[in-house]
Symmetry: C2
Subunit: 183 residues, 2 copies
């Protein structure tokens, strides 16, 4: 992250998200899901927590401004959920569907199966591709049920160092994968 502290880094994460949205639109991708922050992340120091909350709010507002059909998904019952994002917990608009996970947790998500027979993230369909920046080769709790058949593409660069070429590499790679969906 170019030697920046984590709390400074988050603000640099908004612009890449908007660039990625534009690239998805130009490829005809109808829906993306973005990992904002998790319930586990909120155990970090307050200065970081404020920074990633603020970055999620800034991204949400800019995405709406660009015509995205935004849906925020996460545990709104907790004090860690930013009140500014409450209005977006119902999908609005007809543009690119952007699902933003905010104060999300995989345990919280699948607990819905026990309580109501449905995932709490039930509005998110099966994912084709999971892209991860920063070299980590794991899901880290990201939408485990929707990801069961997803192909994983890992970018070594960190997210604030996003380049459109990362996305283009992923698209080229994805087109070479066979999709069997478990068959």
């Amino acid at each position: 992250m170019r030697g920046l502290g984590r709390e400074t880094g988050y603000a640099h994460g908004v612009e890449p998200g908007l660039l990625l949205m534009g690239a998805c639109r130009s490829f005809g991708i109808p829906e993306i899901s973005v990992y904002g922050f998790t319930k586990d992340n909120t155990k970090r120091p307050a200065v970081q927590k404020q920074a990633f909350s603020a970055a999620c709010i800034a991204f949400a507002e800019a995405a709406l401004h660009q015509g995205a059909a935004l849906l925020v998904i996460g545990d709104t019952a907790s004090a860690q959920f930013p009140q500014e994002l409450r209005p977006y917990c119902t999908r609005q608009g007809n543009g690119l569907k952007v699902n933003l996970l905010v104060n999300y947790g995989w345990e919280w998500d699948i607990e819905g199966l026990r309580l109501s027979g449905r995932l709490r993230s039930q509005e998110v369909p099966r994912l084709d591709l999971v892209m991860r920046w920063g070299g980590g080769r794991r899901l880290s709790g990201f939408l485990p049920i929707q990801s069961v058949y997803a192909d994983f593409f890992v970018v070594e660069d960190y997210w604030p160092d996003f380049r459109l070429d990362h996305f283009h590499q992923a698209m080229r790679w994805y087109q070479r994968q066979d999709r069997t969906l478990g068959g």
Copy 2:
């Protein structure tokens, strides 16, 4: 797979499993989970189905012979479940824990949450590492809940071409990963 038909290939998959078990023992790994076949796989031609069922039975018997504490996990209520493996649906023995998924399905697994509040694979704990052979960069429905924090290591060679060096590469790689478990 060296130009072999799929139905011939499965029989060549047993020996690699036994080699891998031995390597895990020598590294002090207490438990592994092996993807035998899935409920989706049983939609394949009968000749393949018989071949991968037979390979699972052969692996189970050889694993027991080597002192593994075997547990077979899968949908025993379906006709696709090999009756020979019924006795191993309760763990026996004190050696390396080997969980063999047979006629397994992720939907069948998480349906347990709805029906009883527990995964049907509840005896399998969180996974640290997922190794996949054959170049595919996806879980393909493998234990989605236990895999939420797992690191993925992909081997380009096919499983019947297993070499102990694949495992050693994965161990070296895994030791360089930081494990945050979502924090």
